[in-house]
């Protein structure tokens, strides 16, 4: 039991808690920092990024094929047509025999329909250009090889989509665009080497 005497003692001599001894040092340190150092922080010198960084960045970056930049809706349109065709149960058109009997269309006919590129010539130009890029890896034309591969992949996808879709005229038109872009690239590569 707490006596009245103890309570009186507590009231007259309340317990005192001492702050840590180094607290003033901390406050002083923070005050100095706020006064002398912090105002200078926004004025710290800025360093210039070296020029070569952008060069290696752009070399690292694979550009989209030119035709996709001009017509960004082509991949979406091709995908949508494919999905629609698939959704309506036109898988039957996958069978080339059926396709031929229904609309007289075959993969071979498509090949004849688009501009024929001399595959051997393309390979020769591609190899020569590859050698050029091995000797001059920094040359800006080196991304043409990747662009050509992208075009070939896009062409293959479009050709596959044509086999499944009803609106072949539209897709053939896109394939023709790809072929023209490929021709342009091959011509540029040939000029370069």
């Amino acid at each position: 039991m707490m006596k009245q005497e103890d309570l009186k003692n507590l009231r007259d001599n309340p317990r005192r808690y001492m702050p840590p001894a180094d607290l003033w040092n901390k406050i002083e340190s923070e005050l100095d920092y706020q006064t002398y150092i912090r105002p200078l922080l926004p004025e710290l010198p800025q360093h210039r990024a070296p020029e070569f960084v952008w060069k290696s960045l752009s070399d690292n970056f694979t550009p989209r094929p030119q035709f996709l930049r001009s017509y960004p809706w082509i991949p979406q349109a091709a995908a949508a047509i494919f999905l629609l065709a698939f959704g309506f149960g036109l898988g039957i058109w996958l069978n080339p025999k059926n396709a031929t009997s229904r609309n007289g269309f075959t993969q071979g006919a498509l090949k004849n329909d688009v501009e024929a590129l001399d595959m051997q010539l393309i390979d020769e130009v591609r190899m020569a250009h590859l050698r050029w890029c091995t000797s001059f890896p920094g040359d800006e034309s080196c991304h043409w090889l990747e662009e050509l591969s992208s075009l070939e992949a896009a062409q293959k996808k479009l050709e596959n989509a044509v086999r499944r879709a009803e609106d072949q005229a539209f897709l053939r038109q896109q394939i023709r665009r790809v072929e023209l872009d490929k021709s342009r690239l091959i011509r540029q590569m040939a000029q370069k080497i």
């Binding site: 710290l44 800025q46 210039r48 990024a49 960084v53 752009s58 930049r69």
Partner: protein, 171 residues
């Protein structure tokens, strides 16, 4: 001057001139951050390159909830931290690393201050740069560096104290 929205749209369409413009706009500021964190110009260049590759690759994911500059800065900071962790095989937060950069009073104040900041041990320096120079919160720093908020605060306190000591001859 092309506005930010147009610049982002251009980069999303993979337009090289928009990418170059965006790079030009932020390269120096981001290189400066990278250099201050890594304390090495070659590493800072690597950071800048790696960070901007990520920027261009993921700019479609940028939801514009923060400014473009803040988004790029976070990518640069993350890239810098992961790169120096890779380089140093362990990113220390102690006092063991002390580097003499030949600090002598007499420079223009800010040059001297920068040298003093660069001379801080990496843990102190990174927290100081992120909180005091770049304006990140301790919560952000905790997330970025994978340390507790308490550690971030104490690192900052020691960084400031050391800076005060280093600069006491000047101020």
């Amino acid at each position: 001057m092309v506005d930010e929205v147009a610049l982002i749209a251009g980069c999303r369409a993979n337009d090289r001139s928009a990418q170059h413009m965006l790079y030009r706009r932020y390269a120096d500021a981001m290189y400066t951050i990278a250099f201050r964190i890594t304390r090495n110009k070659d590493l800072a260049s690597d950071v800048l390159q790696e960070a901007f590759i990520r920027v261009f690759r993921y700019i479609s994911d940028f939801r514009q909830e923060s400014t473009l500059g803040a988004w790029i800065r976070t990518i640069v900071v993350r890239t810098a931290i992961s790169l120096i962790r890779r380089e140093q095989k362990g990113f220390s937060y102690d006092l063991s690393e002390v580097m003499d950069l030949g600090i002598t009073p007499g420079y223009k104040d800010t040059d001297y201050l920068e040298k003093a900041i660069l001379s801080l041990p990496s843990g102190y320096r990174t927290v100081f740069l992120l909180v005091e120079v770049e304006g990140y919160s301790h919560q952000d720093v905790s997330d970025l560096l994978g340390i507790s908020i308490g550690t971030s605060k104490s690192q900052l306190f020691y960084a400031k104290r050391r800076l005060r000591l280093l600069l006491s001859a000047v101020f």
